[in-house]
Assembly symmetry: C2
Homo-oligomer: 520 residues x 2
């Protein structure tokens, strides 16, 4: 019998505390990245068949406006055509062929392999995203401009938060003067701030090419980069409804050339840039993503691409985007199901609150959208931490808070294991027949307290009495403390100082080396 089990036998609170002190092996943890979801399914199989049929019909008969010449050439050579309105039509045979060719089992790599993701078979990962133009002060509610140091801080936070599995850039650093500075520095601070997978976007294809140089330097060589591309491109190749975005298409082609995995984003807004009917919004965004899949696989068969149907919601009273609603939970969950229908790695969004602040509204909107989307089996859930104001605002403390929310959701994703052992008939018999009439000191309780139960990082579970004795601490205050603790102690050093110096020689890096070493 181990010391721990002996402690358990002694029972009671001390034994439980003793157990808690022991570190838990990774495979014993109650929640892990990449658990299998799919127990929530808003669409039936026949719903999905009908959506598929409508997608094929729309791509074949409505087609896309504004295709760039290279795209037109690829598609028409493969059997597509341009109609008299100048719209590029995708025949269903071509769509099916390209869906068959599309890559499906590629890992999403991270600088540290322990953070690699396997986004298939309804495995679920939560991560960030966004292009917020405001930082939010959790205490004062003040909205300010995000700078490049803020983005670096967010990367460092994500690096330390277990339930955020990948990092796509969350804010637009508004202290960058040119779009080139923005693209280069955004990439630099993201990959410097975390060893988790990084996603970002680029304004122009030439910045993509420049950025690849940096990625080769960090990887050690172009070959090493291509073997484990640890950065993906978030690409809005489409302006919904059904119109290509020229610059984004050029960036997409540069990404394919450079071996960058692509998140194919179609972000229509139901009632504004996609149909108000939820089924139509799902259909359109999936159709647009599939047009992207066709395009990419004609460019380079099997190039890694994540299907990114992001149907947003409009508040139809104003036309403004709304990110936190039951409609949004349905749209993203249905899209996750459609990605699984095509067996494509799916990246959808959840956790986008409309609240301007960190409050009960943001908590609820994040909680219910993430619960449903997580359990729908979405492979990658973007926007799931830090975001407020319908994606316009970002709050550092919210990453810490949302990490707890995602922890609860992940526990639900893990589900309930039903075995003879867990059904506990014998444990119940023992407790009832031999005493003590409760399970607190029972061996089973001791064994399961770490492996079956998730404990929040900052969430409060004290009694009202203890809470008052502690001075009635606020949740936001506790989150601020934890955020400050991470930001004053965690200075990632995975990029060697010599390498960092080389990067700084080659590129115009705006973030002080001093800030990166000491946070000030």
């Amino acid at each position: 019998m181990t010391a721990l089990r002996k402690a358990a036998r002694r029972g009671g609170r001390n034994a439980r505390h003793e157990l808690r002190a022991a570190p838990l092996a990774d495979d014993k943890r109650p929640i892990r990245p990449g658990m299998t979801g799919g127990r929530y399914a808003p669409l039936t199989e026949s719903d999905m068949d009908r959506i598929n049929e409508a997608i094929l019909e729309s791509l074949e008969t409505i087609g896309f406006a504004d295709a760039i010449p290279s795209c037109v050439e690829l598609v028409t050579k493969a059997g597509g055509s341009v109609n008299d309105q100048g719209r590029l039509l995708f025949p269903r045979g071509l769509v099916k062929d390209m869906l068959a060719v599309a890559s499906r089992r590629f890992p999403i790599y991270a600088q540290d392999p322990k953070h690699d993701l396997e986004p298939w078979d309804k495995k679920v990962y939560f991560g960030t995203a966004g292009a917020a133009v405001h930082m939010i002060d959790i205490e004062t509610g003040e909205y300010t401009d995000p700078g490049i140091a803020d983005l670096y801080d967010i990367a460092r936070l994500v690096d330390q938060l277990d339930n955020i599995h990948f990092f796509q850039r969350s804010v637009v650093a508004r202290d960058m003067e040119t779009s080139r500075d923005l693209d280069i520095n955004t990439l630099y601070v993201c990959v410097s701030g975390t060893t988790k997978h990084v996603g970002t976007s680029w304004v122009k294809p030439e910045y993509v090419e420049e950025s690849l140089e940096m990625l080769h330097m960090i990887a050690g060589s172009e070959e090493a980069w291509r073997a484990r591309p640890f950065v993906s491109m978030s690409n809005c190749f489409v302006v919904p409804p059904f119109k290509f975005a020229e610059d984004a298409c050029l960036c997409l082609e540069a990404a394919v050339k450079g071996g960058i995995p692509i998140l194919l984003l179609a972000a229509g807004q139901a009632g504004a840039t996609s149909p108000a009917a939820l089924a139509g919004a799902v259909m359109q965004e999936m159709a647009e993503v599939i047009a992207g899949i066709v395009y990419i696989n004609l460019l380079s068969p099997g190039h890694p691409a994540i299907a990114g149907p992001w149907p947003f919601v409009s508040d139809l009273r104003t036309g403004a985007m709304s990110g936190g609603s039951g409609e949004q939970a349905l749209l993203s969950s249905a899209c996750a199901q459609m990605c699984a229908y095509y067996d494509l790695p799916g990246g959808v969004c959840a956790g986008m609150s409309d609240s301007k602040m960190v409050d009960a509204q943001s908590g609820a909107e994040k909680g219910y959208t993430e619960a449903l989307v997580g359990n729908s089996g979405a492979n990658m859930i973007y926007e799931s931490a830090g975001m407020h104001a319908s994606l316009l605002g970002c709050c550092k403390e919210s990453f810490v808070i949302d990490n707890d929310t995602i922890g609860g959701v992940l526990r639900a994703v893990r589900g309930i294991e039903v075995t003879d052992e867990t059904l506990s008939v014998e444990a119940l018999r023992q407790v009832c027949e031999q005493g003590p009439g409760h399970f607190l000191g029972h061996d089973q309780t001791m064994d399961l307290m770490e492996t079956e139960y998730v404990y929040p990082l900052v969430g409060d579970r004290t009694s009202p009495k203890e809470w008052v004795e502690q001075g009635s601490p606020s949740y936001n205050g506790r989150a601020r403390e934890k955020t400050t603790e991470i930001l004053t102690t965690h200075f990632p050093a995975h990029i060697d100082p010599a390498l960092d110096e080389s990067i700084r020689e080659r590129f115009d890096i705006k973030l002080d080396r001093g800030y990166m070493l000491a946070g000030s």
Copy 2:
């Protein structure tokens, strides 16, 4: 063409505002009480078969301690036995027979028939419950003692909040001096404060009998009461694990005699009074509820009973109850599935936050537990509004806030309708080929903005700019305003003044008539 459609044709923001001004017929509303859930299913069919088998085995071989003589007599006459430990055993044949006899299609009545519930076939209703011993001030965070006027206020709030479908008493009025005063006055203020279905509990059977007199007076006669019993008894007949509670059993027998529907509550705490393994916790609480079903149906075959498996969670570091967690969402959802497995009306719980305050923690915990439990197809979801501090605290403003959260969840429960019309291929074709390239003024958008989309009552969807211009209003502040508005304007008058006077003559009613007429 109607005026509204003409307005729609004109398109744009004014037309949308014009539409919003028109009242919406009940059957057109995007969310309604009693929509069908069940798209989230943590347990498989074979999981449920195994749980059922463990339930039957436990009831047959472990049985219950502390059965009262009348219960022992009923069960042993029907084939049960008492073992040498004094435990009452329920043979599986008896259990199956009583499950067959149990009533399944009884409405849960309300004083106003428009609020009647039909808790079967995975129809979902949200409501309240609780026995909180603290009221929480949303602004100061102060914890105070609830009084009978607080309970009346909560009933009035629930009466006005569309997404809270029934009202079980939320707080213990600590200004009542005797348990008799408590039982009688609790019932009185609940049924006076709302025309929705009321649930409450009683300390002693004689107070049940006295209360029935009041219910007969309100109904008009005993016959009228028995035809539409609009109050149910929440009854904790079991002290988990597997032990009867004497007083509660006596109250249960009085309820059966008086025609009061019973919520059979089994509220074990996983890791303390039920197994730490989640499957075992579900098994035990369902087994306990089924013992109650056997008991009730032996007393009076077909007496209306709601199965109430409420497995709570222990924070195993302290042994204290935790209400807001992924584990809790799983336990309640699995129990909802088990109730549907037996085709019993099921009442489970969700929305119980551990946070002492109204904040992002309470929002998230309520949001994710309610989203999953709502979509699991639970018939009646108790504790879903107002509760904090692991059920020890209650906040009036939280009812308003949680009403919005439940609204979002209900929208998800409604699901996505997939038809040729909603798939919107023709709408997309029109917008793409004939302009204007967006759906904002489209007929479909106008038609669906009220019927497909839920708008929050107090939730904020302004832009950061508008929000700052409005003085950065807080969510809690808006909720307080709405709460004050309801409590200063809504004085329910469904009980005739003359009848109220008769009730006051017969019973020792502690709440001032003046308060009921004017809130002060």
